[in-house]
Symmetry: C2
Subunit: 415 residues, 2 copies
């Protein structure tokens, strides 16, 4: 079916669309008469359909020209779908075990056909709320981040390749602007979109708006977000963009992708683990005090950074005389210097990651979009208590991040 | 004359070209029969013609698809002319008194027609070698840099405008790569292009290649150059890109322009003043020990930074609730916080500027392209002596730049 104009699909028209699209039909074994189609989009922005035939399955994601959870009153370019498809393909190429394959992309329709990440995969955030342990999560996320960030940075790319990719993703500016607003601006000013557990956190929210040092620090992070084209980042790497089982981890939803600071991804993931950690007391009950689970979360945060560090620097070692142009082998081939170079790079990345982790935590407590980890704590006093501890920790982390040398020091400070 | 294909012009074909181009002919009062045409290109890359008629004048600059001073064996995109024209127009718009007006641009021919910066203007570097004082130089350069850098940064632009401009200038990557090679790489490795005053500086050049901390620091600057899209920078702001009289200062030749770190421009200019300073002993003679002139150069370096600081921050104050999205007025409107924000921004910019100044000095002593200030010292022992002092100062500055809080401290260290 030649789609000449964008239109929002429903289950019925999606059926027609699939029939007319060989790359999708074939993934369903061309058995298209009794397709089971279910809209499952629980995200903020887009429509997501699971499509199942007797001999195959896939997922269709369609972007609409507005923010789904708000409606047409908040317009948002559907071109985000192009950047999501482009990033998904690139990330699948770099980390095939942890990113679903793209089967089909239709730019006019802002429509992506991709692998169905089938049950028992669930959204990681839901697993963290339920208290499920994922023994391979840290390993897998470290692998995803090390591969996608290393290979799109100047540690691996020539400046020619890098600048051309930077230019392409500059056009994803509307999504960057959404992040700029909701992460780096709104929490630090009065905004109609902000909310928090009121009245308990009223003075905490006000304190964020009046904290000069905090605002100075968040400005530095915002500048990095807006000006530093370090690597192709996912851009929205919270625990709601990860689907997991005990043995598999899949990263979805990179519509915010662009060339930005690596620490924004690493920080998003670790910051959301910290949010999960601080929410556990709200989910504890007589049968389960969640103590062991809290320890598992923190071990996972530590392992994520430490394994990421290991994998990233070992990719760098492997490719030290590869195409990357940041540190030319002829110049940095002295063993002692090579160690110094890596140490300096990684400690800067660590501090960036902690800063972005903190900024992401703060915005989930006093900004527009909260996280289910905390929102699902029904007793507001209990919730406010968890949130205040998370907020106080995040504020400290944002201001003092440069004083931490290891992730274990950070974790001790949280406990 | 419709030019359908690129061809390198000579004086004869340039005459025809002008006759066929109304925007050029009119600047010459349409008196085209006895045009006086002189090729004056003394730069490394391009051809420059001065064209004079009885009732007007102009300059024609044409890029060729190679590096002029080397020849066709070193190819270089002639598209640089497009970025030069685009930057010239933007910079003329932002600092009209200090940038020649563009009359005409022909992308196919890589040809720019612009105002003739007429005598007594001379290239500043030549004036500095001759010992000429320019009382308004610091004021004018500060004005040029403050205006062109401030208005193209996120202190004034929205992120939408900024990202779109960043993307456009990403295509000037070949020129960026030339800088990456000759400023940030070649001086720190063995390269067929490097040269220095041999044998006197042999061990100094070797020491640069073996200096681990220096190489660690230069890598940080290279990363900023490649990844930080802070503002539209000139990209080649040495004293050979400035034409001056006692009362006028004109900045030409922005073919290296792209969105990069502001400190690269500020540092290029100040670093070249420092090179002029260190070369003075080589130009001293019995009639003139150049002592007073050395003091004037250093005063000019100090005034340049201090006036730049003043103008830049005052533009920022004036536009504090303007379109710029880095520091939103609602968030940073507290007077004490506002001062903190500016202090932090400016000290970072200062340290960047010192670092780039140092890198630019080093590359002019042990890299491929040297400066006439030093090259024109005919006695090699004298020259090597000046060069070594410049080099030692630059190495110290690159490593210790963060210890300096004011430009006067830097100048004391140089003396
Ligand atoms: N490939 C997939 N396989 C299975 N479920 C998916 C897939 N992609 C998305 N989903 C489901 O749809 C939800 C919303 O998808 P997501 O890409 O996060 O959309 P949004 O951009 O609107 O946040 C996810 O939380 C997940 O439950
Ligand atoms: N607009 C102008 N007016 C007068 N002279 C100019 C002008 N532009 C260039 N020149 C002369 O031509 C020389 C080379 O120009 P420049 O733009 O620096 O070329 P290149 O890119 O090859 O370095 C300058 O040093 C200056 O002497
Ligand atoms: Mg999502
Ligand atoms: Mg999304
Ligand atoms: Mg020049
Ligand atoms: Mg030059
Ligand atoms: Mg030039």
């Amino acid at each position: 079916m030649a789609m000449e104009e964008f239109r929002v699909l429903n289950e019925k028209s999606l059926r027609e669309y699939i029939k007319a699209t060989p790359s999708l039909a074939s993934k369903l074994g061309n058995q298209l008469d009794n397709l089971e189609i279910k809209e499952v989009g629980d995200g903020n922005l887009n429509f997501v359909y699971i499509v199942i035939s007797p001999s195959g399955s896939l997922v269709i994601k369609q972007a609409v020209p507005y923010v789904r959870c708000i409606g047409e009153s908040w317009p948002m370019t559907k071109e985000r779908s192009y950047f999501e498809a482009t990033a998904l393909k690139r990330q699948h190429g770099l980390s095939p075990k942890h990113v679903p394959e793209v089967y089909h992309f239709d730019r006019t329709m802002s429509l992506i056909g991709m692998r169905y990440v089938e049950p028992p995969h669930i959204i990681l955030r839901k697993g963290l709320i339920a208290g499920v342990e994922y023994p391979l999560l840290a390993e897998h996320m470290a692998e995803f981040m090390a591969n996608t960030l290393f290979y799109t940075s100047l540690l691996y790319l020539t400046t020619t390749e890098h600048k051309s990719a930077v230019a392409e993703f500059c056009a994803n500016v509307e999504l960057c602007r959404l992040t700029e607003q909701v992460v780096f601006s709104d929490p630090y000013r009065i905004s109609e979109y902000n909310h928090w557990t009121s009245p308990y956190l009223d003075s905490d929210a006000e304190a964020v708006r009046n904290d000069k040092i905090l605002k100075l620090e968040v400005a530095e992070l915002k500048s990095k977000f807006c000006e530093n084209t370090q690597a192709l980042i996912h851009g929205d790497l919270h625990t709601g963009s990860v689907m997991a089982t005990h043995s598999s981890t899949q990263v979805i939803d990179p519509e915010f992708a662009f060339y930005g600071p690596m620490g924004f991804d690493v920080g998003a993931f670790i910051g959301n683990l910290f949010l999960a950690y601080f929410s556990q007391d709200g989910h504890a009950d007589q049968g389960n005090d969640r103590k062991a689970y809290k320890a598992w979360i923190m071990d996972t945060a530590a392992d994520t950074w430490n394994l990421f560090h290991k994998k990233f620097t070992s990719l760098w070692d492997i490719h030290k005389d590869g195409p990357g142009e940041a540190y030319l082998h002829e110049i940095y081939n002295n063993a002692e210097l090579w160690e110094l170079v890596k140490q300096k790079y990684m400690i800067n990345l660590f501090h960036d990651s902690l800063g972005f982790a903190a900024a992401k935590m703060i915005r989930r407590i006093v900004g527009v979009a909260h996280v289910e980890d905390l929102e699902s704590i029904s007793d507001p006093i209990k919730r406010a208590d968890c949130e205040r501890r998370a907020l106080d920790f995040a504020k400290m982390l944002l201001k003092k991040r440069r004083n931490f040398n290891t992730i274990n020091e950070v974790i001790s400070a949280a406990q």
